[in-house]
């Protein structure tokens, strides 16, 4: 349809994509939280169960998921700080710069984490 791509044409701009990335990364982190609490609960239940879980977490697929999780967390943090900056600091039009800082920060954190895993 004319004017319609992946999203409505009037939404196809950096501010909307940043807001969408902020929300979707937040939802993905919410999905992780039950697993996080499960791991903490196992630590309370005993050393053996926690060790089993930690051994499982050495699986390469889990490591890749961990990397994704760190990137999502960094993205959510970066874009959340962007909203705070937009709403609390005097500004005129640095929104794309802030989006670049937020998303770029997430990429840097992801690279550092990946290098750390590889090392």
């Amino acid at each position: 349809m004319i004017g319609d791509g992946i999203v409505r044409a009037s939404r196809n701009h950096a501010g909307f994509w940043a807001a969408l990335a902020h929300r979707l990364s937040g939802l993905a982190l919410i999905c992780f939280i039950p697993l996080h609490f499960l791991a903490l609960g196992l630590a309370i239940e005993g050393e053996a169960k926690l060790d089993t879980m930690l051994a499982w977490s050495d699986n390469p697929l889990v490591k890749i998921s961990e990397w994704g999780l760190v990137v999502l967390l960094a993205l959510h943090l970066g874009l959340g700080l962007r909203v705070l900056a937009l709403e609390w600091l005097p500004w005129r039009d640095p929104r794309k710069g802030l989006i670049a800082i937020g998303a770029g920060g997430a990429v840097v954190v992801g690279l550092v984490f990946a290098l750390n895993l590889a090392g």
């Binding site: 004017g3 009037s10 709403e87 039009d93």
Partner: protein
């Protein structure tokens, strides 16, 4: 209009009200042709019953805004060559407003929300009082000046996701107006404006997508004004306001 540069444009125009369909017209394509030129050509040469709205044709009155290829735009200042999508144009009425006929919307809710946001000047003096000197250099006056050129075209209102989701949200134009008033030292009820924009559907409903800033045809920044209102109302809630 200038010389014809290709034979014709295929222009899809919304016909009807909420129920209706697109009707395709073949329109001569000319150099420097605006979208409003296209709609006017159709009304004068192909479909006299086509309803649309315009007045000044030079970007001052704000009455000719329509949805062009999915984006709200002022049609009198939008060149066809800038917005063609594969050689085609699709023209609809503005989103987020009740439709009347074809390309005409009812702007009543848009202006009623200006009242809800207390977007009217309340005088603090009478004509018999001496003129109040206003410094053009003060930060408040600069903030007000940055927002006062709104032409009431409702493009920001049509582009806003929150207006689409929340019928009570007063929208970017009304809040931009409120922002100019809280920065106008001559206004006699600036706390009243802050109270009005603090209500449900006020400035705190904004999700800072900045679609208003992205689409405003005259380059205003309602997102910054709404953020300013959020700051002032939050400070007032914590006792920091005046």
């Amino acid at each position: 209009m200038g010389d014809t540069i290709t034979e014709t444009l295929a222009v899809e125009v919304w016909r009807g009200r909420d129920e209706g369909q697109f009707e395709t017209f073949e329109v001569p394509h000319r150099e420097s042709q605006t979208v409003l030129d296209v709609v006017t050509w159709i009304q004068r040469n192909a479909e006299p019953a086509l309803a649309y709205r315009f007045a000044c044709r030079v970007g001052m009155c704000g009455s000719c805004a329509m949805t062009v290829n999915g984006r709200p735009r002022w049609t009198c200042r939008t060149h066809v060559s800038e917005v063609l999508d594969g050689g085609r144009l699709r023209i609809e009425p503005l989103a987020n407003l009740p439709r009347i006929k074809d390309l005409v919307c009812d702007l009543t809710p848009f202006f009623e929300k200006w009242q809800t946001a207390r977007g009217r000047f309340e005088p603090s003096a009478t004509r018999h009082d001496p003129m109040v000197p206003v410094s053009t250099e003060s930060p408040e006056r600069r903030a007000a000046d940055a927002g006062i050129e709104c032409i009431n075209c409702a493009v920001c209102y049509a582009a806003c996701d929150v207006v689409r989701w929340n019928p009570d949200y007063v929208g970017p134009a009304a809040l931009n107006r409120a922002w100019t008033l809280v920065n106008d030292e001559r206004d006699g009820d600036r706390n009243g404006v802050l109270q009005a924009v603090s209500q449900a559907g006020g400035c705190h409903s904004c999700h800072t997508h900045a679609s208003c800033l992205e689409h405003c045809p005259v380059g205003l920044n309602p997102t910054a004004g709404i953020a300013g209102l959020k700051r002032l109302t939050a400070l007032a809630a914590f006792g920091g306001g005046d």
